[in-house]
Symmetry: C2
Subunit: 224 residues, 2 copies
DNA sequence: TTGTCAACTGTCAGTGGCTGACACTAACGT
DNA sequence: ACGTTAGTGTCAGCCACTGACAGTTGACAA
């Protein structure tokens, strides 16, 4: 009765969560202030007062720590996408998934890391060659997963029908460009990014909004 | 008079070339047979009988060795592209650059590394996560460079006119997909790759072949 | 030819990311 | 209250990579 909901989750698990969060916060803080490569694992673990070994029990690598929040956001997006009703077109589904992910993400995020730190981390990734490489690979993997999801929704096969991959590629392409421009700009706020994303996606809409339940390849094309 | 054309290039330079080539050949051979991560620098340098330090004097990193041949091919392509006459359309120029690069590359390549080893290396890169990441980043950088080149040819600005980047992206996209499919296929010969590339690029042609000297976006484009 | 200079290489010592093994402590279930 | 087990620290070590210094060997001029 000394604690609120602490009994639902054990003390052990709570401690774990605390050290992980601390490691993550300190890591991102150091990365974004002194640079990724300039920061050693020892600096991080010294600040949190745990052993280096503990760091690697939570994060498989230094990189993984840098991408931990990004990973979280991406998973929220995937969850949202899976939850979209089947009536929505692929584009609507992806777009709405982004919208609804924004909300659930920002609160789940804030519990671990201030949003502002997440923003700085994103900028760090885009400006650190080693991290750019990893980011591109991760994006490619995410695209593949999303394409598969979209294809399933529409009852298509990713390997025979090019439309899922193409749609996803252009969608994430827009997202990526948005992030880049936002990074270059002055206003690094969440709202600015949200608004910018909406505006850019609006341009993409019409091109992808058609109905997909009818074939389109080669000869069996209709005069849509 | 004991040597043919050895006097044109000093003994020193020749030795350098030899050790570099040896390091590269052994490195790629080991990478492709036992895997990239399973191969240590010591294994390579032991086989060539030089110190580990020497390896890092020739290659800034282990990765750089893995991409040395790819780098060479890309540079040949860029050279070919720069040499294309101004009359050619962007697409023609890129396509012809690829064609003419094939020849100059294969002979320059063979002097250092057997073509077959290059092929295996490419497959290795595509199947090693750490190298995939680097490859994607390198490709992005190459695309940027090519887009800049194309824009210059056409007297455009990459930042205001989206067409150069779009064209390059689709072009390299086709090239990339071709490489992937070729990698999955049975026939891993150069000819197969060449032919496949031609066939795929043929599909892309019409969409990009238009004249670019006339404006198409916004209003403030100049007619020259 | 010889001697000086510069380039190339090896050795050594050290840093930082990362891992396996083992022992210890503390939360957990009974 | 007590055995179990998850989480942690310590230690020893591998591997990629770097700086500093010294030795060797082509290059080039006197």
């Amino acid at each position: 009765m000394t604690s609120g909901q602490n009994t639902t989750i054990g003390l052990r698990a709570r401690k774990k969560r605390r050290t992980r969060d601390a490691l993550l916060r300190v890591a991102l803080e150091l990365f974004t202030t002194q640079g990724y490569e300039q920061t050693t694992i020892d600096e991080i673990t010294d600040a949190v007062e745990v052993s280096q070994r503990t760091f690697f029990r939570y994060f498989a690598s230094k990189e993984e720590a840098a991408f931990a929040v990004v990973d979280m956001v991406e998973n929220k997006f995937l969850d949202s996408l899976r939850a979209r009703p089947a009536e929505e077109t692929p584009f609507e589904a992806m777009r709405n998934a982004v919208e609804s992910a924004w909300d659930s993400v920002s609160e789940a995020l804030e519990a671990v890391v201030p949003v502002e730190l997440y923003m700085r981390t994103y900028l760090l990734i885009e400006s650190t060659p080693a991290l750019v490489a990893v980011h591109l690979r991760r994006t490619a993997e995410l695209e593949e997963e999303v394409a598969q999801l979209i294809a399933d929704r529409e009852g298509l096969d990713v390997n025979t029908d090019p439309r899922p991959r193409v749609a996803v590629a252009s969608f994430t392409g827009v997202m990526r460009v948005t992030g880049k421009i936002w990074g270059r700009g002055r206003v690094a706020s969440v709202e600015a990014l949200q608004e910018m994303t909406r505006a850019y996606l609006d341009h993409l809409g019409p091109a992808l909004a058609g109905d997909w339940r009818t074939p389109v390849c080669d000869k069996d094309r209709r005069p849509a």
